[in-house]
Amino acid sequence: MRHIISAVVENKPGVLAHIAGLFAGRGFNIDSLAVGETEDPTRSRMTVVVKGDDAVLEQVRKQLGKIIDVIKVQDFSDEEYVERDLTLIKVGVRPEKRGEIFEVVEVFRGKVVDIGPKHLTLEISGPEKKIEAFIDLMKPYGIREVVRTGRVAIARGE
């Protein structure tokens, strides 16, 4: 099962390396990892998506909690949350086909962020399933490059 683990950490050099090292050293594979400053600039939030059974995930959570620079660990699988992933997709496309793509972008509430004679760069955000559906739809046009932020998540309610 996939889990979204969210950790508040000290915003200091070495903390990301420590956490990445912990995952690697214990054989946990990271599906995605996003890091950014929180409302308190001395702290960052890391959102990590990992796969594994419940025992593995319990170890991940506890091991993260043991790191001195990790202040709080949450597993969103236990609660209601909102998740987003932002993706930039470069599609190779000639001008006459642009219209078709614009329609799909519209439906997915994406954005066109760059246009060239032979390509379009699109921005799309949302939960993972939506992004994957969008990528699938773009495949026939020829995807040149996909860049994803990885998932971020926040608990619902107060």
Binding site: A17, Q63, I68
Partner: protein, 579 residues
């Protein structure tokens, strides 16, 4: 003051105080010594080098701590570790950057695995050179991250006092462990008047000490209800100073006690409830007791694979109570029924309020029968390692601080010595570091100058840090090294005999030195013992003598450590050594 503006600002901020104390400026090196003094550090083990020279120079200005020069950084690290295990205080070592720091890696990993409080100070190249591949540069905070409890690279002298204070706090509290502080040379010479804080508050570090009251109650009820309970006691009991509480619990509720390697001494082995060590080379009766028990009470132990063997077949009839200060130890290897997170002593004291006396005659009788039928045994033909260990125990009155290397010597020391006192058995359990025992013994002797300190060694292990003979002799640290000399990497040879068709590939130690003459070359004393009747007189002479001794016991070359549970088997599937 050279920074009047700053002083004024400080004074205004602290206007509640009547007179802002004048704050002297001092450099990073002196801040380090200030913290060492405040932490009560009496001794620092280490080796100097270019970038720690400002620190070594500052040692010249103070009477304490004493700096003990080791001959290899690994030796310095293990000495600090042995000092910490023998005294319960934080061990401190100091080495230079680059190779000095990387030589310390094994010592850090050893201490980390066995939860030993250590503060390791490493020098680092100048801050602006970090990352430039400067001479003797190594990214030691990166290298040591997975093998320390925490580490700091201090880039600003203003933060140095705080980091050092935090390092001691983290090393000593919770599940103890090594903390490394990397100090660039320009930080060591930079000056500041910033005060060293008295205490530190770390948002991400709040170890749980008191156990959850409800969990403690549940555990007590389970103990009261159990027919065949067993205490399985690890190094955590020694760290938390809880041996008295274990003894009281065992005696009150008639619960037999088995210990791990690191738990040896947490329960006196001459007590009728003692089952000695369990696991791969544990006693048959301890392992049988685990397999038959209906309640296993693990205290400060972590269900290591050398203890459990096949986890699916481990303690099949038992509910499991697990008392541990490290929440990540719980349900890591074995599913636990009643976890209690916190300090062993605090939790045992809580348990003692609710655990009732109970007669468990039937269970104890069964264990008594196993003890009679399956004692530890060996065939007394020729000079046997087991006999040497027994004699070390007898001649020392069982009161020596026993350090060990790793391998057969370690297991025989665990099995054949009667361990009775906490902090008297010092051994690398988790990492299994050959070369640990001798420097650790040196550290233990520094911490306990009046104690008899014995390193039980193998002829392989002793050569891994033999250079520390100079440290021992020069500092008059009269460690007695008893080499169980079989001319092999004995445990390797044993596995080859049992599992690799007796092909002794790479395990014969041809070319060993003459250990007696080697000891003498360093100014220590030495003796070679080849016959059984020479053992006792040799030990008596060496133990009574104020010098460092190497006793080279030429034992039966192919003696094995038995009983033995082959790796991955259920722990009652023992081979060998059964009477």
């Amino acid at each position: 003051m050279s920074q009047p503006q700053r002083s004024t600002a400080q004074g205004q901020r602290e206007s509640s105080q009547q007179q802002p104390a004048a704050r002297p400026e001092r450099n990073g090196a002196h801040i380090l010594l200030e913290v060492l003094k405040a932490e009560g550090v009496q001794v620092v083990f280490g080796i100097p080098g270019g970038v720690v020279l400002p620190i070594l120079d500052a040692f010249g200005d103070v009477a304490q701590p004493r700096f003990i020069l080791a001959r290899h950084e690994q030796g310095a690290g293990h000495a600090a570790d042995g000092y910490a295990r023998a005294t319960g205080r934080v061990g401190v070592c100091l080495v230079t950057s680059g190779p000095g720091a990387t030589n310390l890696v094994t010592a850090l990993a050893t201490a980390n695995f066995d939860s030993v409080p250590l503060v390791a100070i490493t020098g680092q190249v100048k801050t602006f050179l970090i990352g430039n591949d400067a001479f003797q540069e190594a990214d030691i905070t990166g290298i040591s991250r997975p093998i320390t409890k925490h580490n700091y690279l201090v880039r600003d002298v203003e933060k140095l006092g705080e980091c050092l204070r935090a390092a001691f706090h983290i090393a000593r509290t919770g599940r103890p462990g090594p903390v490394l502080v990397d100090i660039p040379v320009d930080v060591a010479v930079a000056k500041t008047d910033a005060p060293v804080p008295d205490r530190v508050d770390l948002a991400g570090y709040k170890p749980v000490i008191k156990g959850n009251r409800r969990q403690v109650k549940r555990a007590a009820e389970a103990i009261n209800a159990a027919e065949r309970p067993l205490l399985y006691v690890g190094g955590g009991v020694i760290i938390s100073d809880a041996a008295d509480q274990v003894r009281e619990l065992a005696a009150r509720a008639a619960i037999p006690v088995t210990t791990t390697l690191l738990g040896l001494g947490a329960f006196p082995e001459d007590h009728p409830l003692a089952l000695k060590m369990l696991g791969m080379h544990g006693t048959a009766y301890a392992n049988y007791a685990v397999q038959e028990s209906d309640l296993l009470i693990a205290v400060g132990a972590r269900f290591d694979d050398r203890i459990t063997g096949d986890v699916k077949k481990f303690a099949p009839h038992a509910r499991i109570i697990h008392i541990d200060i490290d929440p990540s130890s719980i349900s890591k290897n074995i599913r636990v029924d009643i976890p209690v997170v916190g300090d062993a002593r605090a939790i045992l004291e809580g348990l003692l309020q609710d655990v009732r006396p109970r007669d468990r005659g039937e269970w104890l009788a069964k264990i008594g029968e196993w003890k009679t039928r399956h004692p530890l045994a060996y065939k007394p033909n020729g000079l046997k390692p087991q006999y040497v260990i027994q004699q070390i125990c007898e001649v020392s009155g069982g009161k020596a601080i026993i350090c060990t290397e790793v391998g057969q010597n370690q297991m025989w020391a665990a099995q054949w010595y009667t361990h009775r006192y906490p902090r008297h058995f010092i051994s690398s359990g988790g990492l299994g570091t050959m070369g640990y025992g001798f420097p650790a013994a040196i550290g233990a002797q520094v911490g306990c100058p009046d104690a008899l300190v014995v390193d039980i060694a193998g002829d392989g292990s002793i050569q891994m840090n033999i250079q520390e003979l100079a440290t021992a002799v020069h500092n008059k640290l009269p460690v007695k090294v008893c080499i169980i000399d079989n001319g092999y990497l004995g445990m390797v040879r044993q596995w080859q005999e049992l599992f690799y068709k007796r092909r002794y590939s790479g395990s014969a130690l041809d070319g060993n030195p003459d250990f007696v003459r080697l000891a003498e070359a360093y100014g220590a004393r030495g003796a070679r013992i080849t016959e059984t009747d020479q053992v006792r007189p040799a030990l008596e002479k060496a133990f009574a003598d104020p010098h460092v001794w190497f006793l080279d016991f030429m034992v039966d070359r192919e003696e094995n450590v038995f009983p033995m549970v082959p790796a991955g088997e259920a722990i009652d599937r023992m081979i060998g050594g059964m009477a």
